[in-house]
Symmetry: C2
């Protein structure tokens, strides 16, 4: 491959684009890799297309390596299949919807579980046919509310999505592990720094699920890590360690106090500490009861849910949403309180909820034998020394409280701290959610139908272009890893005709050796501009054919390490070809 800058469809920019905030967005636009076409919608210019293709090929290679078979599904997805899985409704505003000329509804595919399930159902019928792994590399569409950061979060983007089909759970685990291994190899080959975090599966349903997050300060995914171990997890997936149960014997009786004008935790704590009750109260001693309502998909009625958590913690809505998924969550309105007059705003306690058969779930820290100050279910009253397991018994636990830096790590080693990353891959054990919907069975060896179980595995191919740049750049430009660079070598001819002629000859000889070459053969462009462009474009190796040509020397530059060295012109092709081959 030989690209000539004299004719290449490329104009680099000296200024950052006005709408760009993150390095990858700035550099990919300035380097002429992408151009914005509409909000969250980008055009790939020649160099950008090469990078995108390199990443896609690398992904393809590893997917083929685990026996994945490449197919290609349409972007236009008929409504009926998504009605069956209820995702036509669940997706809400996040997908693009359209009608054809006959009024039939379609969505533009954001992910393809439904069609893959139907595809396999159409072809495979026997347990002997399984396992099978199918994948595609395809443009996807999501109507993001706030497309941002260039190609990091676009509305039209490239994904590799794979789906595994197995006849039993052990098979699914094997398929899952194969994908996990392939993903590790892919991200390692891309030279990325990443963590694998436990994840909730969001709208995908299902059980085991991990995310691959490329670590970067501009990532929009927050995750937590342990100071003392490899533990890393999405905030939604953090499981709060429950303290040991305590004996309830000998604990003082619960007593209701008149606590005028104390509807908030702070006013309550201040009142109690001013009331000379013989001990000091903190927010952590109080039991805050947050009321929400939830509604399961397809149902009309909302159900009230009381959530009890220590008074020094807030409810994290994303954790709450993940905990109740696939039900949706809303706050109570005045009508709800009017319909349930025993719920006294600001003074709700466990017992009014439990006595009225409303669902009451508590933070895992609230275990038997813990002692709480909480609402007494009447205005201006709280109860002190209410004991869990003695005075009230919750319906269960829920992971809805915020996770804080310094919280103990769920694996028992170290404490948690927060980091940011870009989601580059996601693997799910979907289980039978979609195969149940569409009745995908395989005839077992005993002649009986067996429900197939399924995994789904995504990689953000276009997002990876940005993730690589986020992790691999300096103040001068991009530093492409060789595995994805648009070329191996950038031959820069500076100055007058002869140097450019030699640069072109070198480039042609290198290309003949199978090296992918970009040659700067532009005339009338200063060496300074050429070097600036070269650093911005970030090709791993640069060969400068400049003033020393008269002495038979060219300069070799290493973009990543910054090293320079002079080598004999005659030795250049062999040296560079060997360097590329060994890399």
């Amino acid at each position: 491959m030989l690209l000539r800058m004299s004719t290449l469809f490329l104009r680099t920019l000296r200024e950052d684009p006005a709408d760009a905030e993150v390095p990858s967005h700035k550099l990919l636009v300035r380097g002429g890799f992408v151009r914005r076409a509409a909000p969250g919608v980008y055009t790939w210019l020649p160099l950008g297309k090469l990078v995108l293709d390199n990443i896609a090929d690398l992904v393809r290679e590893e997917m083929n390596g685990i026996g994945g078979q490449e197919v290609l599904l349409p972007a236009l997805l008929p409504r009926e299949y998504y009605e069956a899985s209820n995702r036509w409704t669940e997706y809400g505003d996040t997908v693009f919807r359209l009608q054809d000329r006959k009024g039939a509804d379609y969505m533009l595919g954001p992910t393809h579980e439904e069609l893959f399930t139907l595809l396999v159902k159409g072809e495979f019928t026997s347990y002997k046919d399984f396992p099978v792994v199918l994948y595609q590399i395809q443009e996807k569409f999501r109507d993001e509310a706030r497309p941002r950061a260039g190609i990091l979060r676009g509305r039209e983007f490239h994904m590799k999505d794979a789906y595994s089909f197995d006849i039993d759970d052990a098979g699914l685990q094997r398929s899952y592990d194969l994908h996990r291994g392939a993903y590790v190899r892919i991200f390692d080959r891309l030279g990325l720094k990443y963590v694998i975090v436990s994840a909730m599966s969001g709208s995908m349903g299902g059980s085991a699920s991990e995310e691959f997050l490329a670590e970067t300060e501009y990532g929009e995914d927050t995750f937590v890590r342990s100071t003392g171990s490899d533990y890393a997890a999405n905030v939604e997936a953090v499981r709060t360690p429950a303290p040991p149960h305590l004996p309830v014997e000998g604990l003082p009786e619960a007593v209701v106090h008149h606590t005028p004008d104390t509807p908030t935790i702070q006013t309550l704590v201040d009142f109690l500490n001013g009331a000379a009750l013989g001990r000091e109260f903190t927010a952590a001693d109080t039991l805050k009861n947050v009321l929400v309502k939830t509604r399961r998909p397809g149902e009309a009625a909302w159900e009230i849910l009381g959530i009890g958590l220590p008074g020094d913690r807030e409810v994290d809505m994303k954790r709450l949403e993940a905990a109740v998924y696939p039900a949706e969550v809303a706050l109570l309105d005045e009508a709800d309180f009017a319909a349930h007059p025993y719920l006294v705003k600001g003074y709700v306690g466990p017992n009014a909820l439990l006595a009225n058969k409303l669902r009451y779930l508590v933070d895992p820290r609230i275990v038997e034998g813990t002692v709480w100050t909480t609402g007494a279910d009447q205005h201006d009253h709280h109860v002190v020394d209410l004991v869990c397991g003695r005075d009230f018994t919750p319906d269960g636990t829920i992971e809805a409280a915020e996770v804080r830096e310094g919280d103990p790590s769920p694996d028992g080693t170290g404490t948690l701290y927060t980091a940011r990353g870009i989601e580059i891959g996601h693997i799910f054990q979907l289980g039978r959610k979609f195969t149940d919907t569409f009745g995908l069975d395989a005839l077992g060896p005993d002649g009986k139908p067996k429900r197939v179980t399924m995994g789904s595995y995504g990689i953000g191919v276009s997002r990876l272009v940005a993730a690589v740049v986020e992790q691999s750049h300096d103040d001068k430009g991009i530093v492409w890893p060789r595995s994805v660079a648009p070329a191996d070598v950038h031959v820069v001819g500076t100055g007058k005709g002869e140097q450019i002629e030699v640069a072109v000859r070198l480039a042609e000889e290198l290309a003949a050796q199978g090296v992918r070459v970009l040659v700067d053969d532009r005339k009338g462009v200063s060496p300074g501009v050429k070097f600036t462009d070269s650093e911005l474009l970030g090709i791993p190796t640069t060969v400068v054919v400049g003033k020393k040509l008269a002495e038979g020397l060219v300069e070799l530059r290493d973009r990543a390490g910054g090293g320079h060295s002079e080598i004999a012109l005659d030795a250049t092709v062999a040296t560079v070809a060997a360097l590329v081959k060994d890399a």
Copy 2:
């Protein structure tokens, strides 16, 4: 590449799909290359994806060969750019439209002239930057009224679209010629039988334009060819040769006759021949005047158009539409006749039209000195011996009359006959239609802006898969040309374990030589089924490891030629590798 049928995601079908009418549709579904996902929307299964990729790579190679640079534009196209070119309106029902969550309008890209023009305008500014050829291979969307014939006419399909930008007409001609040459090489390498026909450019506007049509009886494009030359053209593009003008001197006076109850050509001819006028009349002696109305884009008012043509010919609506494009055409209704009482239904002549300043265009055969019988603009009256150029002078000519088998070829050699084909490529000299819309200028050497001129060039990549099958199949299945076949060799192991083991070993050895291999390693499948599948799938070369294995022999089969031969097992890898390499 080594594909194993024991694990391949492939189930062939013995029956034609119920909705399939054309061979390519039947065979691509039966062979497990594609599956229908929605009307006109298809999924590509592993073997189909390989064929599609092979064709795309071949197209890519030839496009790169003429200096084309590959980019990738989005499918989501914002309305504003298409408003500017008026195509937001012109496309009518033929595109998919949608709104994002903010209510902004988009269409799914059917073709990308607007965005390419803007893209080039954003980067290139000087005459030194040109010419440039950009292309993409991408999924396109069109909301066909009647999607049909499988992937031949789908609603989501793959196209290569290229755009050339030049600073002058000579440059555009060079870019056009380069594309024409590349297209010839592409279709030749695909082994297609095709013709290049002059074409009207339809909604693309512009001037010079040719279509590449793959000849097949199931093609939906009709074109005409000459019996005596290479002339071929779309019916819309046929230019009727005009006869020489004749002297008007000495021709008899025009006479109005009472011709009661003769509103049609046939009743008129019958009446005249019964009226003892001293000569025999035929339909070809009469001048039929057809009234339509046209409306230019963006205008509210319709304009009446009279079309004069020999009475033995009908108006061909597609030719008429192409002739008046971009105006639209409609028939007159009662209100139009009421508003123009001098237009006497069934008896319209040239003179009422011309006297009332209505536009009157005639078939090119109606030249000065030709003598006609036509309507006299009063009920039950016709005029005989009305002479063109003496008694009426039309406003010009129009190509609206039907083209018939036996018409003289426009190039003067032979006569025309009708054939059918599939449009596989289309090249246009667009000129400045889009560069005018978006003001794409290049600064000339004189420092003055020069309007850039543009070409656009399409190849239906997914349609080519079907076109190849249409031309290359027999009653047993597909016969893939090696250039696009999903594999070079199909190794079929029949019978018991040992034959399959040897087949797999052969396949692995061939794959190690760089041969693309599909091996039938299925156990418990009869040789008959395997042979039937092999013929259906249509891999160019088959190696059968069967009963003769005991004698150290395997069988070599040529799918296209049908030849069989036995060769020594030991020589198989070398023989087949050489055969593939030489092809």
